[in-house]
Amino acid sequence: MSGLPPKSSVKRWLVTTNHKDIGILYLLTSLFFLIGAGVLALLIRVQWLPGGSVLTGAEYNQVVTAHGLLMVFWFLSPFAFAFANYFVPLQIGAEDLAFPRLNAMSYWLYLFSGLAMVTSFFQGGTHQGGWTLYAPLNVPAFVPRVAEIGETTAVIGLALFVTSVTLGSVNFLTTIYRMRADGLRMRDVPLFSLSILLTVWMMLFAFAALLAASILLGSDHLLGTQYFLSESGGSLLWTHLFWFFGHPEVYIVFFPALGALAEIVQTFSGRRLVGRKWFIIAMALVTIQSFIVWMHHMFLTAINLPIKTVFMVTTIGISLPFDLMVFALIYTMIKGKVRWTTPFLFALGALLFFIIGGITGVFLGAIVLDYQFRGTYWVVAHFHYVMASGAVALIGALYYWYPKMTGKMYNQFLGKAHFVLAFIGFNMLYFPMFIVWETPRRYSDYSSQVVWEVPFTDFAIVDAGFTVFHQIATVGAFLFAASFLIMFYNLVKSLYSDRTVEESPWAYTGSAEWATDSPPPLENFPGKPTFANGRLNFLTGTEATDGGVEVMEADRSEPATDGGVASQVEELPDHSHDADHASWWPLLLSAGLLVTALGLSGLEQSYVLWPFVLSVPVFVAAVGVVGARRYVASNPEVSGSTTTHKLLVLGSVPLLAGLLAAFHAQHGIVDGFTEANRYFFVALGGLVYTVYAFVAMGYESFEVPEPELNEAWPFEGVTNTKLGMWLFLGSDIILFGALVGSYVFIRFQSGWQDWWHDAGLPEAAHQVLPGLINTYLLLASSFTVVLALAYARRGHKRGTMTFLGLTFLGALGFLANKAYEWNEFINHEGWTQTSDVMGSTFFLSTGIHAAHVIIGMVIVVFLFSRASEGAYWGEDEDAHTIEYFGLYWHFVDIVWLFLFPMFYIL
């Protein structure tokens, strides 16, 4: 399926995998969430109007929580990634992202996770503990019963969002490293794309910690584990996990804005960025340092003085690289030709906000001040200045790139009016909060509230003075909100204006996106972009009669350099006509996951695993059916499906029967289904569908040409998919690191040695042997994967399939052994994940590993079926897929090598 319908067609926007279309989708969706989260913000202000109090305490808490979550996760980052999607490939001279279908999936998962979050409001109420979701207020014991389902939906929505982000990070990293135009070295990548590169590096690791946190929290909700209820550090564990993610998140949100700022200031100052190299080094430094400042959010906990001091130093110290960046931006304006256009005004505003937010942040870094600022409006005002600086810079980016994305220019006067109103409104909203900073955060009612002490005097205003400042803030909030109405009107109206723009409406632009049409064509450039001879050139290949490709150079850069045309002629591969740009599966698969998520939220503990278990036979059958259909369709010479296909379809029936028997053992087959609540059927239906969509997407023929003639340092030696797999495993390491870390943390807090004595499991039942057997089984299955790969490379069908089969059997043995062990624990010893925190950590950590094993087996089934059709070992085939699976499988083994001593020996 390669044809992409025209932009006027709705279908286009559902099936597209093109990065520019997806950028537009991100843009519109994030603005939609901006409106939603903005309305919630106004509700907060309305609550405090004289005689206000429109919300109860619980409702107010939901509004505060949802405002924070939606703004941070579903507006700010995705808004930045709208531009990243649209402009990173254009800036680096690529045709699209490395994995277009994955990119579409990132978008749909983002949209659907946001919808899940919104849905949670209507399931009795969403989370009520603030966007930081502090423990143990976030566990079922402290959640009002009516809101439990909504709460769970919010947590699962968060996990879906993290999935979207992880896919996106892998995609962008692979793209920026491997798909740059020829001659564009890493250091030459335009600043916005560089800032995205550093952002996704942070995302890859930071969001993995959030994924771990949301898995643990989701498990506390659905499976009854006790991570965050545990008094052995459960509360602190949450803050460590959350802020290990949460502080890099600040820079994740801000970096794209910083990159955009650099581009805008450079263009509208008409001067190249001063100290570009140092600017980049400073950004890289912050990227690393962002992972060692998180405990400054926990200064008031019982962390000891030396650790606090280290974190105070790293925290205040992180302002230094930012100082350098701000100075670089300021000096760029000197001797410039500064034009006060709309984008520049927003960049200027963002810079001012950032300076105020940065300076007030240094206050918070000083521990003694933080002790008193914690939980006050100083914090609220500070981080809104920082976050809004990011948002305002990105609004500037919207005004900067709008002509490029639409081919139309907006009304400049309305643009400036938007800025003036937003700037005044924002400062009216947040500056007074610094003055009445003693206001405690997240209070729904301030009628008897504190005083404002005028600094340096004995003069203090009680109540009334406090109220006045908050009322000014409320007026500011409405002005700020109103300013966006101007923006929406202006941008929508301008789409239909006759103010067309050519390639670049702005003077002194530099990067490649300005060298192509506005909006750019599907394939982005008039030819293959290259910087090989020091400037941007486009190579255009035309079919020559002898089948070779003749290369012409079109110099589109302005002004013309020497006027000469380089006579470089070489083979120019032209794949653009066979690249695919459309697929239904990203949308359908993500929709399946949304339905599953909504179903899971209301499951009772004893039902949680069954939708997953029962969808396994569906997967096996689907691989058989879809595989056979595809095989017959693409190989006209064969008469029918292979034996493997038939075996898979036939085998799924006894498998289903066996699993239903297991279901019968727990619930009774009739009672189980009749007594299940409707969420069970939603989850089951959703998963069955998801599994089918997954298979169908796996089998879909979707051509993405491997990049050629481009700059891929430092990863010239690997393919896109292999790099992507490495990066994904990198984030998976953090996931397991967080799981093991949580176990170690809780065990340490409860006195390391006493752990197993305190567990509800008799000492005699806690044996090393099952773990040891499983270690051998997994290691053996790693060797068989290597052998399967070796045989596939030799073109040996039977060897390939035998060893794939043996890998599957090894994994099956692992699971069977584990099932036996768990059965002992659960049914004979009565020790489960709900018994105690030892049980929670044991069953969840090894359970998530087991889930990785099962996912591996699922992939082996798929590989086995494909191998039977001739893939991997046949002529014109390559064994890469087996190699990449092998990477994953070895990783799963290595994880076990850590889990085994942790849970069996120590």
Partner: protein, 296 residues
């Protein structure tokens, strides 16, 4: 800018050294120093940005039918961006200025860190020679109780004598009990002091995370299940002081805002209250009050 900044920090240092050993004074001097320095830096930097943006504004007029000025690349000294160039910086231009500014901010930041650390040592732990009274603060949804060293009784309001170092060990309520999903309605949870106890497997369930703070006394500590956080204060004047909760702890969070959360009493009054409420053994109390007379 540098010179002013440093001298300000120094004057801040002397203020702290002279201040009585009281978190209020320590906070005030540090806050003042940061506020003055921060305002100064903010005003100077913002003014400089606006000055540059205004001074170097282009007076070229926008070309006909275009949206921006015409590009010129005639000056040798200024590196202007050109479409299609390999994005590079301006070479060495501006580098020196950048480094000087960076060095200045580095010195200022290092100064701030040192200054802040020195203050930290002052508030972290009570003064060395302090003969303090230690009181446990236990947070619940949605109130605080105070356990005095001697007594069985728990107070709902923190009564303290003036001019004495009071150390608080802040924690969140904990009690054995079991809580299953959906066992309680929201009303029940709201009214609970501690999660209720029922037969079951789970032990040692804590209450949620709160944060005890008395803004006027500049004393704060997070109340975390299973953890103790230490903080201390000295009430100079008899009177009442507000206590607030600074971590969102549920639907009643707002109500954990107690106007008379701390009551500081003259010695004799405190003695009366204490003996009546069994806060300390009588002899011990008298000795302590005598011993610490005029200490702070």
């Amino acid at each position: 800018m540098l010179v002013t900044g440093t001298s300000l920090s120094l004057s801040g240092l002397t203020t702290v050294a002279q201040a009585s050993e009281n978190p209020v004074a320590i906070f005030d001097s540090l806050y003042t120093a940061f506020l003055v320095l921060g305002t100064l830096v903010g005003v100077v930097v913002i003014a400089y940005i606006l000055y540059n943006a205004w001074t170097y504004r282009s007076d070229d007029s926008t070309q006909d039918g275009e949206y921006d000025i015409e590009e010129t690349h005639d000056e040798e000294s200024v590196a202007r961006p050109q479409l299609g160039e390999v994005p590079t910086g301006v070479g060495k231009a501006g580098g020196k200025k950048l480094f000087v500014s960076f060095a200045i901010s580095a010195i200022a930041v290092l100064g701030l860190i040192t200054f802040a650390y020195w203050n930290l040592l002052l508030v972290e732990g009570t003064p060395d020679d302090a003969d303090d009274m230690e009181i446990d603060v236990v947070a619940n949804q949605f109130n605080y109780t105070y356990d005095y060293p001697g007594g069985e009784n728990e107070a709902e309001v923190l009564y303290v004598p003036t001019d004495r170092v009071i150390t608080l060990n802040v924690t969140s309520c904990h009690s054995p009990g079991t809580l299953d999903r959906g066992e309680y309605t929201s009303d029940q949870i709201d009214s609970m002091e501690c999660p209720n106890v029922s037969e079951g497997e789970v032990e040692n369930v804590g209450n949620v995370w709160h944060s005890w703070s008395s803004p006027d006394l500049r004393a704060s500590g997070d109340a975390i299940p299973g953890q103790y956080t230490e903080t201390w204060f000295v009430a100079d004047e008899p009177g009442t002081y507000r206590v607030v909760c600074r971590e969102l702890c549920g639907s009643g969070h707002t109500s954990m805002n107690v106007e008379n959360g701390v009551v500081a009493l003259e010695d004799s009054e405190f003695e009366d209250w204490c003996l009546e409420n069994d806060c300390m053994a009588e002899e011990e109390l008298t000795n302590w009050l005598d011993r610490t007379e005029g200490e702070s």
